[in-house]
């Protein structure tokens, strides 16, 4: 047992960080707009992401209205339908989930949870946000460009992405690719910041193995993103050149409307490799921060130390590493050497092992815990259930022989919405309910929150459970209208209508959440410094909301791990990380 003397005047731990000279804003503009404070930047990221997420929500409503009630909305034709699904998917995956987890939660929590005063490169951090905002604006501009946004599908597969039959071929695809390039440049600036801050700006005593799992998740996801986004960058630049300069990186010799185009010899499969080399790690870029956050929510609100902390850390690292050798499982139907298919199927299934370890550990943390069914806890439990469901259908799709008949059906849509849409969004909500009191000093309204939770959770299941059955019945995805198809039974229309009605209701519940966010800024009950009686450093700041520099005159010193809950013999059921003194007894592993 590597126990240590406590509360003594021994030497401080080996220089995890040294106190830094902060940039101090001199005007309202530099304090709240062009701010270099990570907390303000986090709020800017989160607000922008939620705003563009609202656009994606409206787009999904329109998609569902078309599917549930074909022809009911006069302005939605096949062209518009493809534009709607493309923009909905891209916004949700990149501009909402990635930006909110890493730019929003990352910026707010990394310095505070590690006991740092700010990110190590505040100016670059500020630039990161403004480039992200520019990327969002360029994307939004495509709605107003001639021909509208691209309708190539969120995977932007060539050759169809830049052929004239695809909506948005003139401007939409160009703006989309430019926006992605900008996003990646902006993210890289932020990502370098997050990594260096985690490695070098931790408070004295905050060893890596004392970091909360939220930070482990964000840290590992950032490394994944720094290594995965270059592939999307390369793909986007090359496709942009194919579109604008007539190169043939991805475009094969092709005849369009009876005319042979200028392209020759390009490889669409090359784009798929590049896209999925980014695309699959992207799943974990979103999932790993969610894993980390949900671990902290469960531990805090079950008043119990996280079960198997070391395993949780190792699992995060293992998932991150494995996520780079599974990309081609998205390409089974593109054709490949059968041995490759076997390899990628195997690595895909192997990822289930560390992932399952995490699920077991969450459940075992809850086991015999003092569970408080607060809103963050409700969302955390909902995440576990949803992620498990989404993960199980992933096992279906990870197998080549099962995947082939299910490819391009609504089963796939239901799967990835459960595992990559609903599940991480539940964590985002849980995280926002959990940390809102620290950000604003006020609690979110409980009754509105309960309404929001139950409508979202039950609604998501009412939408996506039946959707799996649609897929099993052979209903294809990306079809504007399935009426009249001989292989589609009439009951599909009824189920589609039901799903659409529920989707509208679930969407309305998100408006309630946004209302709650705004209303509670002024009407929420005062939160106090640590309303959840949590152990981690962000709850131990001298002021709430934390001021510029976070810690007043003296940065904190860390004496223990992040999960000292319900320690036998302790005066309270939690011991903050910065509280000196020996824990009265060893906690169970």
């Amino acid at each position: 047992m590597a126990d240590a003397q406590l509360g003594t005047a021994g030497p401080l731990p080996g220089a995890e960080s040294e106190d830094v000279e902060l940039y101090h804003p001199h005007s309202w503009l530099t304090k709240y707009v062009f701010s270099q404070d990570a907390k303000i930047i986090a709020i800017q990221y989160a607000s922008t992401a939620l705003a563009i997420g609202l656009v994606a929500l409206v787009l999904s409503w329109l998609v569902r209205l078309q599917l549930g009630f074909p022809g009911a909305i006069s302005f939605i034709g096949p062209k518009e339908y493809y534009q709607l699904i493309t923009m909905h998917g891209m916004i949700m995956v990149i501009y909402l989930l990635t930006a909110l987890f890493l730019g929003g939660f990352g910026n707010y929590l990394i310095p505070l949870m590690l006991g740092a005063r700010d990110m190590v490169f505040p100016y670059v951090n500020m630039l990161s946000y403004w480039i992200y905002l520019l990327a969002v604006l360029v994307l939004v501009a495509s709605f107003f460009a001639p021909g509208g946004p691209t309708g190539a599908g969120w995977t932007l597969y060539p050759p169809q992405a830049i052929l004239s039959g695809t909506p948005g071929q003139e401007w939409g695809i160009v703006l989309m690719l430019l926006s992605l390039i900008l996003f990646i440049i902006g993210f890289t600036m932020g990502g370098v910041n997050y990594v260096v801050t985690v490695l070098q700006a931790r408070a004295p005593g905050m060893t890596l193995m004392r970091m909360p799992l939220t930070i482990w998740g964000i840290f590992t996801a950032t490394i994944l993103a720094l290594l995965a986004f270059p592939a999307l960058f390369v793909g986007a630049v090359m496709m942009l050149l194919d579109r604008l300069l007539g190169t043939s990186f991805f475009m094969p010799a092709i005849v369009e409307a009876g005319q042979r185009l200028r392209y020759n010899g390009g490889s669409p499969i090359l784009f798929q490799h590049l896209f999925w080399f980014f695309g699959h790690p992207e799943v974990y870029i979103v999932a790993l921060p969610a894993f980390g956050i949900v671990s902290d929510l469960i531990s805090t609100h079950a008043r119990k130390n996280i079960f198997g902390y070391r395993m949780m850390v190792w699992a995060i690292v293992a998932i991150g590493a494995l996520s780079f050798v599974v990309w081609a499982h998205h390409m089974y139907v593109s054709g490949m050497n059968p041995y490759f298919g076997f390899f990628f199927a195997t690595t895909t299934l192997v990822i289930a092992i560390p992932t399952a370890i995490k699920v077991y550990n969450w459940v075992l943390t809850l086991w015999r815990g003092d569970i408080h069914l607060t809103l963050p806890m409700l969302f955390a439990i909902a995440f576990i259930v949803t992620f498990l469901n989404g993960g199980l259908t992933g096992l279906f799709l990870g197998n080549v022989v099962v995947d082939v008949p299910l490819s391009d059906t609504m089963f796939v849509v239901a799967h990835f919405h459960m595992v990559m849409g609903v599940a991480p969004i539940l964590v985002i909500f849980g995280g926002l309910y959990h940390w809102y009191p620290k950000v604003t000093g006020r609690m979110l309204d409980e009754r509105l929150g309960q309404l929001h939770f139950w409508a979202t959770f039950l609604g998501a299941y009412a939408i996506f459970f039946p959707m799996h059955y649609l897929g099993l019945m052979g209903v294809p995805r990306r079809y504007f209208d399935i009426e009249g198809l001989s292989f589609v039974t009439p009951s599909v229309a009824t189920l589609n209508a039901f799903i659409s009605v529920v989707a509208l209701l679930v969407g309305a519940a998100q408006i309630v959440f946004l209302y709650n966010l705004v209303r509670s800024l002024t009407h929420g009950a005062p939160a106090g410094p640590n309303p959840w009686r949590a152990t981690t450093l962000e709850w131990q700041t001298p002021e709430t909301p934390p001021p510029h520099g976070n810690w007043g005159a003296t940065p904190p010193v860390v004496y223990r791990w992040a999960y000292d809950y319900s320690v036998p013999g302790a005066a309270e059921d939690f011991i903050p990380q910065n509280q000196p003194g020996r824990a009265p007894g060893p906690a169970p592993a």
Binding site: G14, V192, V195, G246, R560
Partner: protein, 233 residues
Amino acid sequence: MTLVLLYLAVLAALSARWLSRQRLASKPWLETGMTLGVPAGPHPVAPARLGLAVLLAAIGLLFALLVAAYTMRVPREAWQTLPDPGILWSVTGLLALASVALHGAVRAASRGERDGLLLALAAAGTATAGFFAWQWLAWRRLLDLGAGPGSDAAAAFFYLLTALHGLHVAGGVAALAVIAVRALRAADPRDLRPAAFLCAVYLDALLAIWLVLFGVLYRTPWSGWILALCGPL
């Protein structure tokens, strides 16, 4: 994608080596106190150096992916058929000169010699300007031969690889210009040593990347190594 996987394997090995020193097998729930710091290394790395290392890792992967894309897209018979490689040899020499000059700037800054620092920065700036001029000349020659971006895959990759590499060099030149302006104003040129060092390392990395690109685009003594690494999976 072999090159990409190898690159990732190297990064993974370095990460694993670093992680192995972080006491990941410790039991933090049993370790209470404040004497449990990270094992003391020789010297803590400055944040800017670490930041640059992380950035270069991402940039390195970007170019590894581009080279992988080149090998997957360009037919073998079309590899390394650039006309007039002499220009590219000149480009390589100029970039190497810029790198050497920047290391001279680092040494001058270390000694506190303002004039030496400015001279070395000017030399590096001139060399990079020459780099861009010769790169432009190479583009002109290709265009004059009718090998525009849309002519064939090898030409398209030539423009793409050199343009993206050039943009990264331009970033280094911007940093170099900032250092030069600060050198004119700084009370003590020694203060500029860290920045000059980072700029020099950045250009070194871009020189290394350029050598790989050159080896792909034209038959060089080291092309065989690169081609062996770029074989199909």
